[in-house]
C-alpha cells in the first residue's frame, strides 16, 4: 500500500517565504539561478572490482552506481538479447528518513523511471550482449546506491547510471564443454555498447515558480516534481510527475522548455565521461 508520507520534516513558513523571495529575483539560496542545477561532479571507475562504477555529486546529494554482469539465460521472448536491470536502494546512511529493508515505493519508482527511460530509447545495445545465441547472454545489473540525500535523486541517479554504464568493461569468459559459461572476473574484455545518452531533468513547482534541480528542502515545500527524460536528440523519452499537487497544462509546457535547456549541462558532463573513458 502507498501511504501519505507522515514523517516528512516540517519546513518553517519563514524559511519557505525566504525561498520564494529569492525565486522572485530568479535565484536560489546558494546563488544559482532557479533554472540551473547545482554543482555537478562525476567520477567514474571509483570501484576497481565492479565492471563499471560512477560516483555523482549534485550539490550535497551523492549517488554511487555500480555495474555487475553475470552470464544468464535470455528471456524466452527475446532469445537474442541480453538483459539490463536497474535496481535502486535508499541505503539508510543516506538520510534520517531512510530505513533498512527492501526498497520502498520511492526507491522502486526511482529505479523504474530510470529503467524505462533507458529501455525505450535502447540506450544499451542488448543485441551486443549475447554470448551464445538463444542460450547465454549477459545480464547487466545497475545498482543505484543513494549515499547522501539532499534532493533530486532522479537526476543524480540517472547520471550515475549512465556514467557507470559508459565506464563498463565486460570481462572475458570461457565456455566449458558442459555449455556452462565461466566469467573471468577481473579481466577487461570490451566496452559495453552504449548507443544513446539519456538524462532526466527534474523541476519542482514551488509557489508560482518552476525551479530546476530542487534540494531536499525545496522538494518538501514543493507541490509536485516533474521528471522529464531526454535523449541526446532532445526527444522526450520518459516522464513522471511525482508528488500529490496538481499540475496545469501550461506548467508542463514551461517545464519541458526549462528542462531541455538544463539538460545540456548534464549531457556535457556525460560527454566528458564518454570522452575520458577511452
Amino acid at each position: 500500500m502507498s501511504v501519505t508520507p507522515f514523517k516528512l520534516p516540517v519546513v518553517p513558513a519563514l524559511k519557505r517565504q525566504s525561498y520564494l523571495n529569492l525565486y522572485k529575483r530568479g535565484v536560489r539560496e546558494d546563488g544559482r539561478s532557479i533554472r540551473a542545477p547545482r554543482q555537478l561532479e562525476i567520477k567514474v571507475g571509483v570501484l576497481e572490482k565492479a565492471e563499471g562504477s560512477a560516483l555523482v555529486r549534485l550539490g550535497n546529494t551523492q549517488v554511487l552506481a555500480g555495474v555487475k554482469v553475470e552470464a544468464t539465460s535470455p528471456f524466452k521472448d527475446t532469445p537474442n538479447q541480453g538483459v539490463l536491470v536497474v535496481h535502486a536502494e535508499n541505503v539508510p546512511l543516506a538520510s534520517p528518513m531512510f530505513e533498512p529493508g527492501p526498497p520502498d515505493e520511492n526507491a522502486i519508482e526511482l529505479a523504474r523511471v530510470i529503467d524505462r527511460s533507458l529501455r525505450e530509447v535502447r540506450a544499451v545495445d542488448l543485441e551486443a550482449l549475447v554470448l551464445r545465441p538463444g542460450e547465454k547472454v549477459w545480464n547487466v545489473w545497475v545498482d543505484v546506491y543513494v549515499l547522501d540525500h539532499d534532493g533530486n535523486l532522479f537526476d543524480a541517479s540517472m547520471l550515475a547510471t549512465m556514467a557507470a554504464l559508459l565506464s563498463t568493461e565486460l570481462p572475458d569468459f570461457e565456455e566449458l564443454e558442459t555449455g556452462e559459461v565461466v566469467v573471468k572476473r577481473g579481466t577487461k574484455g570490451r566496452r559495453l555498447k552504449v548507443d544513446h545518452s539519456v538524462v532526466t531533468v527534474t523541476t519542482a513547482k514551488v509557489g508560482n515558480y518552476i525551479i530546476v534541480d530542487p534540494n531536499f528542502e525545496e522538494e518538501v515545500i514543493s507541490d509536485y516534481r516533474l521528471v522529464l527524460s531526454f535523449d541526446e536528440n532532445l526527444r522526450i523519452v520518459g516522464a513522471q510527475k511525482t508528488g500529490s499537487g496538481g499540475m496545469r497544462a501550461e506548467e508542463l509546457q514551461e517545464a519541458i522548455k526549462v528542462s531541455k535547456e538544463a539538460s545540456q549541462i548534464y549531457f556535457k558532463a556525460l560527454e566528458q565521461v564518454r570522452g575520458g573513458g577511452k
Binding site: F6, A111, V121, I236, Q240, R248, A249, L252
Partner: protein
C-alpha cells in the same frame, strides 16, 4: 505484428476505433455492501473494482497526521486478470502504481476534515486489457464520492498511446505492447489540474502537448459520465 495493430487505410485502429475514440466505458457505483463507497469501471474488457473504507482509525497508532486524514491506496491485480496467472504478491509495478494513483487522488479529497484518521482506497483489477491504472483512478474517484467524502472535484483518467506514428486514445493491451509510447494522464477538469502524468516511450514535445489535449478532452467526458452516474445513484437512494 505492428502492422496489424496500427492504423488502417481508413484511419481506423485494429478494433475499428478512430484514433481519438475510447473503448465502450461502463461505470457503476455502490456495488459492494460492506465498503463505505465502491465503484466498478470498465474500459472495454478492462474491468476494475474500487472500494473505499474510512475515514477510520489507523491500525497502527503512529500512522496519523494531526491536521488531516492519511490516504492509503493499494492497486492490485487479481491472479486471474492477466494472460499468465499473476502471483498475488505485490510486484514492483503494483508498488509504483499504488503510489502514483495515491498522488493522483490525494489533493482532491478534503482530508483536513478528518484529522488523525485513515482513508483506505482499494483498487482491484479483475481483468487487465490495457489502461488499468486509468480505469482504476476513475473507479477510485467514483468510490470516494460514493462514500460521501468531501471532494474538491472528481478525477478521471485515460492513457494516450502512439501507434505507427499516430496518437491514439485509450490504448488496449494489444496496442500497448506494439506501440511506441504510452502516456497515462489523470486530471480534475473542474480544477484545471493534471494529477497524474507519466510517459513510457518516445515522443516529441509537440506530441506530448497534443496527446495531453486529447487526454484532457476525454477526461472531461469521463467526469461528466461520473457525475451522471453519481446523480442517478443519489436519486435512487433518496427515493
Amino acid at each position: 505484428m505492428k502492422a496489424k495493430v496500427g492504423i488502417d487505410e481508413r484511419g481506423l485502429r485494429h478494433d475499428g476505433r478512430r484514433p481519438d475514440e475510447m473503448r465502450p466505458v461502463s461505470m457503476r457505483v455502490g456495488v459492494l455492501a460492506n465498503a463505505s463507497g465502491s465503484a466498478m469501471v470498465e474500459f472495454g474488457k478492462t474491468k476494475v473494482l474500487a472500494a473505499v473504507y474510512g475515514p477510520r482509525e489507523p491500525t497502527q497508532r503512529f500512522m496519523v497526521l494531526p491536521e488531516k486524514a492519511i490516504l492509503r491506496v493499494r492497486y492490485h491485480m487479481a491472479p486471474f486478470s492477466t494472460a499468465e496467472r499473476k502471483n498475488p504478491a505485490p510486484s514492483r509495478r503494483e508498488v509504483e502504481l499504488s503510489k502514483v494513483i495515491r498522488e493522483a487522488l490525494e489533493d482532491v479529497i478534503i482530508t483536513s476534515e478528518y484529522p488523525r484518521t485513515v482513508i483506505d482506497v482499494f483498487v482491484e483489477v479483475l481483468q487487465a486489457d490495457g489502461g488499468t491504472r486509468a480505469a482504476g483512478i476513475t473507479a477510485a474517484s467514483l468510490a470516494l464520492a460514493d462514500a460521501g467524502l468531501p471532494m474538491k472535484a472528481l478525477v478521471g483518467s485515460v492513457a494516450v498511446g502512439k501507434i505507427s506514428g499516430t496518437l491514439v486514445l485509450d490504448v488496449d493491451e494489444t496496442e500497448d505492447s506494439a506501440g511506441e509510447a504510452d502516456m497515462p494522464v489523470a486530471a480534475a477538469p473542474d480544477l484545471g489540474l493534471i494529477t497524474l502524468f507519466q510517459l513510457n516511450g518516445v515522443l516529441t514535445e509537440e506530441e506530448v502537448n497534443r496527446g495531453l489535449s486529447m487526454a484532457l478532452k476525454a477526461i472531461e467526458q469521463l467526469v461528466a459520465m461520473q457525475k451522471s452516474v453519481l446523480r442517478q445513484s443519489y436519486e435512487v437512494v433518496e427515493e
